[in-house]
Structure formats: structure tokens, C-alpha cells
Symmetry: C2
Subunit: 506 residues, 2 copies
């Protein structure tokens, strides 16, 4: 058996940071008088509306994040901003602490799901930065988690901006005294008193601690592709104009630049991994029957155990056409409680999926804690079929190795067991299976013209598979090449591998 676990270091896309202004550098005395405000706003609003339409036509999504102190006027500013926008083209998302469904998945999961489709605007009233602000100050998560969150946020924002999205982040800054006065004013009015909570007052008391943490965030998370803008918000008019101008500038820039066009530099000589696979491995029917029964029973027990221990599991099936994925998945699934797993068949993206980042549809299917998701084909389509058939650009598939490693790392870091199979057969075996399928009536539906077309491109696919195994075999998500000329052997090997991976975790 060949068990591959090629760990590659993806050459991370190092870019210099442009520090945002820190809170302690902001001049909160900045003001704008009413007259000037009234003369400036209409022009800016008209321009923002025009840009929204242009971005809509070009299919560029925009993400605008509003963070800020309690009572710094986030609601008011969002309202002001959207006055200039067509309400049919945006959504405002209010971010509360995660609910149970959200809590049982990687922390960015719920935000991936809310990413706008091509040409739409998503405004976030609070965002993924809760994790490194409130959760950090209030010690809701341990130190290593919020530190890791910065890395995850960086790759998240880089991935979506590389794909063409515009990301803007505003921090609304007010002074400690101003905040206290605003809380008091809200509390005096019976119609608004409910808006001020205990945790608001706690923030005011711990204002200085928050300043330190916010400044740290501004330093760590100001990326050239997704900068922070600190907005001096003691004066509402000044803040409104500053925000609108920043939005217009970012939209204008985003209209020009569309996607990251330069491919990343990939290094490392690609080993011809598939060459060394010994396809003679096989199993007799008797051995198979005996092993299968015993192994299925074991897997079933483990299924209950991961449910109780809340461990999520991802199993990825990739392989040549006719390598036996369907039958293999069925034997794996048979041993599991159907309430605990889902099989996700993956084919070409549909038209909604096409208007999103290619990883979006897979983020939606990330298993929740205690559940198993089996992907029948997966995100690896990006570096195989989409590469070979030129459905995406060279820059895109080359970038994908790193993006996929980041995606899997985030799942693994949140506790997910990841098992990935490449079901390998040789060309001759494929041919004989194709013929067999054509000749047996109840198997004929399995073979299509596309299978024959793919077969003709065997060598191109083979090179893509070798590179994929090399670049995306990581410690937390290793590939297992399964010798599948003998189906019985392949079925036992996949079940064994899944069992071993789960046992290692438990």
C-alpha cells in the first residue's frame, strides 16, 4: 500500500502591511459644518449610486464592514451610506454572537455564507472581527484561538479580494467621554433606553483595555487588499463624508482592477507520484466479505463516538472516471447512521454558484461538529477539470493550491478530521470498464460521451493529479492514493483509512 502524506509548504503570498491610523493617532476634534455638508453630500451620493450600478454590471461584489465603539453611530452611518444606493442591490447583515449551528463549524463559516454574489453589496454591522475584539477582551476564546483567527481572516479577505471583490473596513472611533454621554442620553429617552446594555457600560469602563486591543487589530489586520479606515466619529457629519469618500475611492479603484491576474510562483519539483503506485494489490471475495463486515461494524461504532465527542469529519473522493467511486462510497455510507452523514455529489457549478468564489459552495457544505460529509468530487475540480479544460485562468488554478490548503487548514484547526482519496486505476483498466458499462444494460447510464472525451486527455489529467497530490498533501489533510484496479481491495483500504484517521483523533 502507498499511503501518501506529502507535506508541502505553500509559498505564502507575502505582502507588506500598510498600517492604518491607530486610534491613538486620531484627531477627534474634526468637524464638518452643516453648510459644507449639505453642499458636498448630494454630489457624493450621486457618484456612489453610479458606481454601484457600474459594479453591478461588471459583476464586482463589495463587502463593507462597520466596526466601532458602542454608540459610535454605526446604525446611523450605515443608514446614511445606503441612502445613495439602490436598495435592491445590497444587504445589511447584523452580526450577533454565533448561534448553535454556527458555533459547530469553523468560525468564518457563517460569513462565507453571507458573501455577496457578483455585483451585489454586503454591509456588515459588526463582523468576523468580533472574534479578535469582543471575544478577545471578554476572554471568550483562548489566546491561541484569537491569534489564529488573524491568520484565518487574512486568508479569507485575500481569497475574496483575489477573486475580484472589494473589501472595505471602517472603525468608528469616539472618545470615552463622548461615549458615556451618548449612553446617558439614550438611557434618558424611554424609547431608546433599551439600546444601552450592561456590556455597553462595561466597554466604557474598560475603554483603555479596548483601545489596546483595537490598535493591535488595526496593526495586524490592515492589509493592502483590505485596509482599515479609522473614522473620527465624534462629529457625525464629518464621519458620513469620510465614509462616503472612502467608499467611492475603493469602488473606483475596484472597477479598474478586477481579479488577481498574476499567478503565484509555485516552487518544488513535482514528483511523478502516480508512477510508483502498485496497482496489482487485490483481495479475494472471501477475504473481502469477512473484512468488510468487521470493518463496517467498527466504523459504525466510531460514527457514534464522533457524534458524542462532536468531531466533524470530511471525506473527499477524487479519482479517474470508472475508478469505482460510487460503489466505494456506498460501502462506506452503509456502515454509518444516516442521521450522521451526508454524501455531497459535486458536478459543474450552477448559475448561482458561478456568481460566487469557487470555494463558496463548499463552505456551505462544511460538516457541523459530530457529522460526516462525504464529497463525491470536490473543490479539487479547480486544479483538475477546470485547469485542464481551461474553465479558469492559469492564475486562478495556481492560486487555488494555496487557497485549498488554507481552507482545509481552517477546517482542521476547528477540529475536523480530513481524509482525501485519489482512486487510481490504469488506462487499460478504465477502457475495459467503459466497455463493460456499455455492454451491461443496467450499467449503461453510467457512461457518457464526456467520459470518452476525458479519457483522451489522460496525460494532461495525470500531470494535474500529480501536481495536486504534491501541492495539497498536508499534515492535517493528507492524500491517500487508493489502488483501485481491484475494487474489493479499494473498498477495504478506504474504510481502513477513514477508521485509522478517526481513531487517531479520538
Amino acid at each position: 500500500m502507498v499511503l501518501l502524506s506529502v507535506s508541502t509548504l505553500y509559498p505564502s503570498d507575502v505582502r507588506s502591511k500598510e498600517y492604518a491610523m491607530l486610534l491613538t493617532q486620531a484627531d477627534l476634534t474634526k468637524k464638518l459644518d452643516k453648510k459644507k455638508y449639505k453642499s458636498e453630500m448630494p454630489r457624493l451620493q450621486l457618484r456612489a449610486g453610479e458606481l454601484q450600478r457600474a459594479l453591478h454590471e461588471k459583476g464586482v461584489p463589495v463587502i463593507i464592514v462597520f466596526e466601532g465603539w458602542g454608540a459610535s453611530g454605526k446604525g446611523t452611518q450605515i443608514n446614511n451610506l445606503i441612502l445613495s444606493l439602490d436598495p435592491r442591490g445590497f444587504n445589511v447583515n447584523l452580526t450577533k454572537p454565533p448561534n448553535e449551528e454556527e458555533y459547530m463549524r469553523p468560525f468564518l463559516w457563517r460569513f462565507w455564507l453571507k458573501m455577496p454574489s457578483a455585483g451585489r453589496i454586503a454591509i456588515f454591522d459588526r463582523s468576523w472581527y468580533r472574534r479578535v475584539l469582543n471575544d478577545r477582551v471578554e476572554k471568550n476564546v483562548p489566546k491561541d484561538e484569537w491569534r489564529r483567527a488573524f491568520g484565518e481572516i487574512e486568508s479569507f479577505e485575500r481569497q475574496i479580494t483575489d477573486d475580484g471583490a472589494i473589501v472595505l473596513k471602517f472603525f468608528l472611533h469616539i472618545g470615552k467621554k463622548v461615549q458615556r454621554k451618548r449612553f446617558e442620553a439614550l438611557e434618558e429617552n424611554p424609547a431608546t433606553a433599551w439600546k444601552v446594555t450592561k456590556s455597553d457600560w462595561r466597554q466604557n469602563r474598560r475603554y483603555d483595555r479596548y483601545v489596546t486591543v483595537i490598535n493591535d487589530m488595526l496593526k495586524r489586520a490592515s492589509f493592502p487588499f483590505a485596509p482599515w479606515t479609522v473614522v473620527e466619529a465624534d462629529d457625525q457629519r464629518f464621519a458620513s463624508v469620510k465614509i462616503l469618500k472612502a467608499v467611492i475611492a475603493a469602488m473606483t479603484a475596484g472597477l479598474r482592477r478586477k481579479r488577481a491576474l498574476r499567478p503565484p510562483v509555485l516552487t518544488g519539483k513535482i514528483p511523478r507520484i502516480l508512477d510508483i503506485v502498485d496497482l496489482s494489490a487485490s483481495l479475494s471475495r472471501e477475504e473481502y466479505e469477512a473484512r468488510l463486515k468487521e470493518r463496517q461494524a467498527r466504523l459504525r461504532d466510531l460514527g457514534y463516538e464522533i457524534y458524542r465527542k462532536r468531531v466533524p469529519v470530511i471525506v473527499v473522493y477524487e479519482g479517474w472516471d470508472a475508478a469505482g467511486k460510487g460503489g466505494n462510497i456506498r460501502r462506506l455510507a452503509q456502515s454509518l447512521d444516516p442521521r450522521g452523514y451526508e454524501v455531497v455529489p459535486v458536478s459543474a457549478p450552477n448559475d448561482v454558484e458561478k456568481t460566487h468564489h469557487y470555494l463558496w459552495r463548499f463552505w456551505r457544505k462544511v460538516p457541523k461538529a459530530g457529522h460526516i460529509t462525504v464529497f463525491d468530487r470536490s473543490w479539487y475540480g479547480r486544479v483538475m477539470v477546470e485547469r485542464v479544460e481551461r474553465f479558469c485562468s492559469e492564475a486562478e488554478w495556481k492560486r487555488a493550491y494555496g487557497e485549498i490548503n488554507e481552507f482545509e487548514a481552517q477546517c482542521a484547526d476547528s477540529g475536523t478530521v480530513i481524509v482525501k482519496f485519489w482512486l487510481h486505476i490504469d488506462r487499460r483498466e478504465q477502457l475495459s470498464r467503459f466497455h463493460q458499462r456499455e455492454n451491461i444494460s443496467y450499467k449503461r447510464w453510467k457512461i457518457t460521451g464526456e467520459d470518452w472525451r476525458n479519457r483522451r486527455k489522460w496525460d494532461a489529467y495525470r500531470a494535474a493529479v500529480d501536481e495536486m497530490l504534491f501541492r495539497t498533501g498536508t499534515k492535517h489533510a493528507p492524500w491517500t492514493v487508493v489502488e483501485a484496479n481491484n475494487k474489493l481491495f479499494a473498498r477495504i483500504k478506504t474504510i481502513d483509512t477513514v477508521i485509522a484517521a478517526i481513531e487517531r483523533r479520538l
Copy 2:
């Protein structure tokens, strides 16, 4: 002003009920010996697999519900059933008590979202029947709610089966003593002891009370289009074969019958409502400015109040092309806190939506308690554009009036305020607006060839609109025809109407 509130009685699709066997009529001594079981199963399983493929190709969705006593073997039976199915073609959904997101919407919302797309199978381990079983026995909901739930379930199951789906419902029945023994056996084994809960034991103690409630459910909810099958489950083998046979029978029948083809009989002379609309209504710019400001302030206050009182609101905008929907919606939205509303632009269904019931995509957008959803066009497309352009059959659009009324009734019954606008202009006004749009550079994007094509079919649309206003103007969801030749007048009237509707509720 014309305020329409035409209440129509939709001639409900009365069908006789075919009572399922009641629990008290079941013979729990039924058994199947191992030999017979082993000889029957393989043939049945092969057949079920073939039928799954055939239904997949034909695009027929299948919904299979499993209800039953605690420890009646639902998990085992579901497992057994899916052994014969391709795991890439089905999902198993475990139904727990609703979470917060679900609780804040009509109770069928979460099940609509889980309806399978064309050709897929959805298996429910517990289902919407929780509402009329556990919730009823445990008195989680008042009597009038579970009684109403039966009506809602009937229309839900009728709507999806009319659209071509197959619905099967199994109740797994075991005796009181058998249940007790199974609980004890589970508790003895440390690996399974966790499966038996306090509420399981409570069910055993209250067995007789449950029998009464279950029998009542079997009587009320056995519809010819979605029958209940009581499965004698003291003997597992007998139950497995009975279930598989019932699935095969239903799939075979479902392959033949695809959709409800006969249109319902619609009665009532359709009044020419649009004829009597006085389009001369207008408002001066000064009156408008003053009113708008005052009304927007009022609506903003109401927005906060419905948030606090957890009232959901649906606002539907329909109207002629160029009637001014966009500008109207913008004035309405401006007055609302963006965190409390969403504008949903509706165009032709995308390819995922096309594989579902036409109401599915609107169910997904039902507002949660305390939020406002504004639909810019809506489900009424079914009885307007889809009717006029023949995108659906006569049976389908005629059926839609009743389906829409049921949908809106379910929203209203769960507390939703529903406001529906028809923005009305005359043909001459439309022409002048089309010309104006073509001549003003920043408005040119608003006019397309399709607008001109629709205009040519004015009379057909007009007849469809009259019938729509007549058949779907209900007490809980009245239409308001808005005289929109004067845009300023129209904007104030819509805001006024929304305000009045919310005030009536509060």
C-alpha cells in the same frame, strides 16, 4: 383613493380521505422469518434502486417521512431502506425541536427549505408531525395552533404533490411492553444507554394518551395524495419488507403520474377593477416633501416597535413596468433601520430554483419575527408573467391562486403583517416614461427590449392583473391599488398604507 380588499373564497380542492389503519387496528404479532426475508429482500432492493434512477431521470422528488414510537427502530429502518439507494441521491434529515431562527418563522418554513430538488429523495427522521404529536401531547402549543397545523400540513403536502413530488409517511408502531423492554435493553448497554432519555420514559408512561393522539393524526392527515402507512414494527424484518414494498409501490405510481394536470374550477365573475381606478390623484412637490418627512419618521418609530414586539412584515410590490417601483421602494426603505429590513429583487428563477416548487424560493425569504421583507416583484409572477408568457401550464397558474392564498394565510397566522401593492399607471403614461428613459443618459439602463415587448401585451397582462386582484385579495393579505401616474402621490400612499397596516396590528 381606492383601497381594495376583495376577499375571495378559493374553491378548496376537496378530496375524500382514505383513512389509514389506526394503531388500535394493527396486528403486532405479524412476523417474517429469516429465510423468507433473505429471499425477498435482494429483489426488492434492486427494484428500489432502479426506481430511484428512473425518478432521478424524470426529475421527480420523493419525500419519505418516518414517525414512530421511541425505540420503534426508525434509525434501523431508515438504514435498511437506504441500503438499496444510491447515497448520492438522497439526504436524511433529523428533525429536532426548532432552533431560534426556525422558531421565529411559520412552523413549516424549515421543512420547505429542506424539500428535495427535482429527482432527489429527502428522508425525514421525525418531521412536521412533531407539531401535532409531541407538541400536542406535551402541550407545547395551544389547541388552536395544533389544530390549525393540520390544515397547514394538508395544504403543504397537497402543494408539493400537485407539483409532482411523491410523499410517503410511515408510522412505526410497537406495543407498550415491547417499548419498555427495548428501553431497558438499551439502558443496560453502556454504549447505548445515552439513547434513552427521560422523555422516552415519559412516552412509555403516557402510552395510551399518545395512542389517542396518534390515531387522531392518522385520521386527520391521511390524504389520498400523501397517505400514512402504519408499520407493525415489533418484528424488524416484517417492518423492513413492508416499508420497502410501500416505497416501491409509491415510486412506481409516481413515475406514471407526474403533475396535477387538471386545473381547479375557478368561479366568480372577475370585476374589471383597474377600470375604476382614478389616476388623476396627485400631490404637489411641497405637500409631498412635508408629508414624506413626517411619515418616514413615523415609519421609523414603528420599525423599532415591530422589532421589539417581534412582528414580521411582508411588503409586496407589483406593478406595470416604469410604474415607479424602484423609487417608491427606496423612499420606504430610507425610513427603516437597515438592520431590520431586506429588499428582495425577484427576477426569473435561476436553475436551482427551477428544480423546486415555485413557492420554494419565496419560503426561503420569509421574514423572521421583527423584520421587514420588501419583495420587488414576487410569487405573483406565477399568475402574471408566467401565465401570459406561458412559462407554466393553465393548470399550474390556476392552481396558484389557492396556493398563494394558503401561503399568505400561513404567514399571517404566524403573526405576519402582509401589505401588497399594485402600482397602476395607464398605457399613455407608460409610453411617455419609456421615452423619457431613453432620452436621459443616466436612466437609459432602466429600459430594455423586454419592456417594449411586455407593453405590446398590455391587454393580456391587464386581464391577468384583474383576476389576480380578485382572487388573491384576502382579509389577511389585501391588495392596495396605488394610483401611480403621479409618483409623489404614489410614494406617500404606499408609506401611509404600510403605516396603517402596522398600526392596526400593534
